[in-house]
């Protein structure tokens, strides 16, 4: 070995070289030796706020809470999914105690977005939230993304951009997939609970970072009882260019089968009747698949940016879960005599999703400053066949149909967005969006759960009501337009400080389950305000970005978790307000990010707190990577370390209680030499035993001699400490140069 010298340039060259494990930087490492990624179009480089290095897909900032997160070095912080990257956004807290393939429960700005209802997700422009989903309106599962392919994440908190669409209540999150690292990368990760994950990524030499392929296979027994899973994922995109024209074709395919442990009663756990990581009902679990294609074309010229995109997606979903044990199957007069058959819910959906978006952004110069105007259109149609049944305990035989719907949900939107710079220190961005929501819902089981004279016992989907014969099905149609003005005012920057004020109206489409026929406003209106300051400057060799802001959001008709339905159900209006501070400091070997958020969410009618929403959330991410002062066969060794810590204050629970706080730490260390990379990951380093989800509701899991019929504390167990070893093999020309003297001397 010989000491290697470190120069500033070398540090820059090694900036992406230290990562290990399931992280992006290991992929990014050879990228610097490749042709640089295509330059961002002019509009994308105009960000004046945020920590953006790359501003995703042409999104100028819309407020102090608009952050473009380049994962970069922070990929060295252990994360288990693409959804985990959201933790980098200020105020974001994720939980997922219901299974490996279950959509993450997202908490942001006082919203318990459950599985996505309040956060608009998109991947390379394709919307992910699922209208009319049986597990909740706006269900957004991002597990079909290979996290190593996520280059950046644009999170806009609040509905302040006319381009934000349905579900942008707390905000929106846009994933941008690219693979800057050219060549092939094969990674194996194995460790706790018989977990094995293999990922193969491929970025053809000579093509842009937008051209990539990736495949993943993962299996695990999962921690505790009934948390096993098997998953396969493929993500691929081709990006071509010809002059001003750029086109992309994206294809994704994903399937997972996972088991879910469900909830545990705290009193049973404390009494030793059940273990913290055990399950009451091993039949809980899910099978999900998604297949998606998208085609997109951009034409970027000095005076205009034209974009068009179309996509199609097929999805299947089945989920069995039991929150209440054997509580709800009360003997009804229209049922033959029965004992409790259990509350296992079986939700299923088959979805066809097609859509398009197109926009034209025109630029001109006025008073020596660039002004722009964008016109855009968005259309999406979802055909969703959804059912919810109840299954007999242990046998999986359905005994009751809660609903059976054939949904057609359309969303057409037009928007106008302007960017005006009347003065050098004043920028106005905003416009108006109009969303037309249309529903055509065929309820195939319109008459159920009622006593009708002469009707046979136990009959479902009756063809008779109290007036006589009728068809068992009934159609409900509805539609309406949501007008949503949105805008932001920026003053500055002065010495890196920009003052930002934003306001906007948003909308969340109605859940078809609760839709009335000819309902005039089939959406929930949202009003949001935000004010804050952003600091963005390079100081003492560090790129510093910091922000502090206050926000307030009102939702006309909210959705709150209901354990008997296993999903969120309608509630009254709610108001959230709060504040956050966030900062990120980056140089060529260090990347630090921290944020602290306060949120207070209350119901309009009685002023009570909205349950389950954490009031305080703090997150720290830090990563370092350096070239070690030794060489092997003339090649440098690069080492890296990452650490992430989350703290969540006790959450308000129903019945005026508080849950437990959460504090977890994840860490990763590793080293790379030439083609090889080895790393070690510890998730939940200190083995904290914590409850990811905490609830107060009534259940009866037959864990006592007699039925339990009053609310009790329940939880879903967060994962214990998990240790993994990661080995990565890098192939290709870039890998061949990694750590070589010619490489590090650049």
């Amino acid at each position: 070995m010989e000491p290697s010298r470190s120069t500033p340039n070398r540090r820059v060259a090694l900036r992406f070289c230290g990562c290990l494990g399931a992280s992006l930087s290991l992929i990014a490492a050879p990228a610097l030796a490749q042709s640089p990624p295509p330059a961002a179009p002019p509009a994308e480089a105009e960000a004046s706020t945020g920590e953006a290095v790359v501003r995703g897909r042409g999104q100028p900032p819309r407020g102090a809470g608009d952050v473009n997160i380049t994962v970069g070095q922070l990929s060295q912080v252990p994360r288990s999914s693409a959804g985990d990257l959201l933790r980098l956004a200020p105020g974001m807290f994720l939980a997922n105690g219901l299974g490996e393939g279950h959509a993450d429960q997202v908490f942001l700005r006082g919203f318990d977005a459950r599985s996505g209802q309040d956060l608009e997700f998109s991947v390379n422009g394709v919307p992910i939230n699922e209208p009319a989903h049986p597990h909740g309106q706006g269900y957004a599962d991002t597990h079909f993304l290979i996290p190593e392919l996520v280059e950046s994440l644009h999170v806009l908190e609040g509905p302040f951009d006319p381009r934000q669409g349905d579900f942008a209540v707390a905000g929106s999150a846009q994933y941008s997939l690219r693979l800057p690292a050219r060549g092939a990368h094969i990674q194996y990760r194995g460790g706790s609970y018989n977990t094995h994950r293999t990922v193969a990524l491929w970025g053809p030499e000579g093509e842009s970072a937008g051209t990539f392929g990736g495949a993943e296979l993962a299996t695990s027994d999962g921690y505790g009882q009934n948390r096993s899973y098997q998953r396969a994922t493929a993500n691929a995109q081709y990006e071509g260019r010809s002059g001003a024209l750029t086109w992309r074709v994206l294809a994704m395919s994903y399937g997972i089968r996972y088991r879910s442990a469900g909830v545990i009663r705290e009193d049973d756990h404390l009494a030793g009747r059940i273990g913290f990581y055990d399950t009451y009902d091993p039949t809980q679990g899910s099978e999900v698949s998604r297949h998606l294609v998208s085609a997109e074309v951009d034409s970027t010229r000095t005076a205009s940016v034209l974009r068009a995109q179309a996509w199609a997606s097929l999805r299947s979903f089945r989920l069995r879960e039991n929150f209440t044990g054997s509580l709800l199957d009360v003997q009804q007069p229209y049922q033959s005599l029965h004992a409790q058959r259990g509350d296992l819910i079986d939700q299923a959906a088959s979805t066809v999703d097609v859509g398009m978006r197109a926009s034209a952004r025109l630029r001109t110069t006025w008073r020596a400053r660039t002004q722009s105007l964008e016109l855009g259109a968005y259309a999406r149609h979802n055909a969703v066949d959804s059912t919810q049944q109840r299954l007999r305990a242990t046998t999986d035989v359905p005994y009751l149909t809660d609903y059976s719907l054939d949904n057609s949900v359309s969303n057409l939107a037009l928007y106008l967005d302007a960017e005006l710079r009347p003065l050098g220190w004043v920028v106005l961005r905003g416009g108006i969006r109009a969303d037309l929501f249309q529903y055509d819902v065929l309820d195939r089981c319109a008459v159920r759960g009622v006593t009708v004279r002469g009707a046979p016992l136990d009959a479902e989907c009756l063809s008779v009501d109290r007036s006589g014969y009728r068809s068992p099905s009934q159609r409900r149609t509805s539609g309406g337009i949501a007008w949503q003005p949105r805008g932001a005012l920026f003053l500055g920057p002065w010495k890196g400080v920009t003052v930002a004020m934003s306001a906007g109206l948003g909308a969340r489409s109605a859940d078809p389950v609760y839709l009335g026929n000819d309902q005039q406003l089939p959406f929930s209106p949202i009003t949001a305000l935000e004010g804050g300051v952003v600091f963005d400057r390079r100081l003492a060799g560090l790129a510093l970005s910091a922000r502090a802001l206050y926000y307030r959001t009102h939702v006309g008709q909210d959705l709150i978790f209901n354990e008997t339905e296993g999903r969120n159900t309608l509630a009254s209006g709610t108001t959230r307000q709060g504040a956050l501070v966030a900062a990120r400091a980056t140089n060529d070997w260090l990347d630090l990010s921290a944020h602290l958020t306060y949120a207070r969410a209350t119901f309009d009618d009685d002023g009570n707190l909205v349950p389950y929403v954490p009031e305080w959330v703090a997150r720290f991410d830090g990563a370092v990577h350096r070239s070690l002062p030794w060489r092997i066969r003339g090649r440098a060794i690069t080492a890296s370390a990452g650490l992430g810590a989350t703290w969540v204050a006790p959450r308000p629970l129903p019945f005026s209680e508080r849950g437990q706080s959460i504090f977890t730490v994840d860490a990763q260390v590793g080293a790379r030499w030439a083609y090889y990379e080895l790393g070690f990951i510890a998730q939940n380093l200190f083995d904290a035993q914590y409850a990811w989800g905490q609830y107060n509701f009534t259940s009866d899991f037959r864990s006592r001699d007699y039925p339990t019929l009053v609310p009790a504390r329940h939880f879903t167990a967060g994962p214990p400490r998990q240790l993994f070893v990661v080995f990565t093999l890098h192939l290709g020309a870039a890998a061949a140069r990694h750590g070589a003297p010619t490489e590090t001397a650049r």
Binding site: Q331, Y598, T602, G607, L609, S656, D705, V710
Partner: protein
Amino acid sequence: MKRLALPLLLALAPGCGDTTGSQRVTFAVEAAGIERDAAQPLSFTNDQGWSITLSEARVALGPLYLNTIAPLEGDRRSPLQRLGDLLLPSAYADGEAHLGSGRIVAQVTTQVEVDALAPALTAVPGGGDGIDVPALTAEVWLFNRDGALGGAAVRVAGTARRDELEVPFEGSLVIDQSLVSAGGSIDEARKVRGIPARVTPSEGGALRVRVDPRGWFDGADFRELTTGAAREGRYRFTAQDNVGRAFLNRVRSRSSFTVSFSPTR
């Protein structure tokens, strides 16, 4: 800046509405027989003119639930409350059928053996829990119990006298399929519902349940027992005689129990 800071702090500070509505509570539970002079035997006269003296009356009490559903007629209310009801009447359905599942707001999920002849309250281990929402009725679910109850839910013994006839008797309530009516379930057979209980559970309070056996033999004519043979000096009633039928019905009536709640123990 100060002008802005104050409203901001006020807006963000946890306010008086720092609750999600109602509260979970735990409370003590005490059970006993009716209040009386324990030194004297419990004697009463049923509607058939039989003077009954009980020597044993044991009940397997629990689980017990408090429900928000309205009581049936016969609620033991004060004259003032009854006057209020006349001015602002509540709507009650006829019969038991209206007793849907309601909403349970408190529970006692342990079973204890209560001596209905002993007036002194004894603590029920484990107490009860629930939420601080007003309840209107209580319901007792009867389960069989071993030990002194010998596998029955209720065991009773005593002597009935009318005129010159003295009938020593004994019997029990055993919850089994023989109690299930056509179209009914054993769960329904074990439930005593609609017990008036206008109480609001609160943290640290005490739920008191008293078992009153004085109505258990209304309608019973003990003369029928004497047509059979006595065993060890006592006539045993069964579901096949009028005493047993009366007992099986009356012991599962809401008048067999009184429920109250004290905010303090």
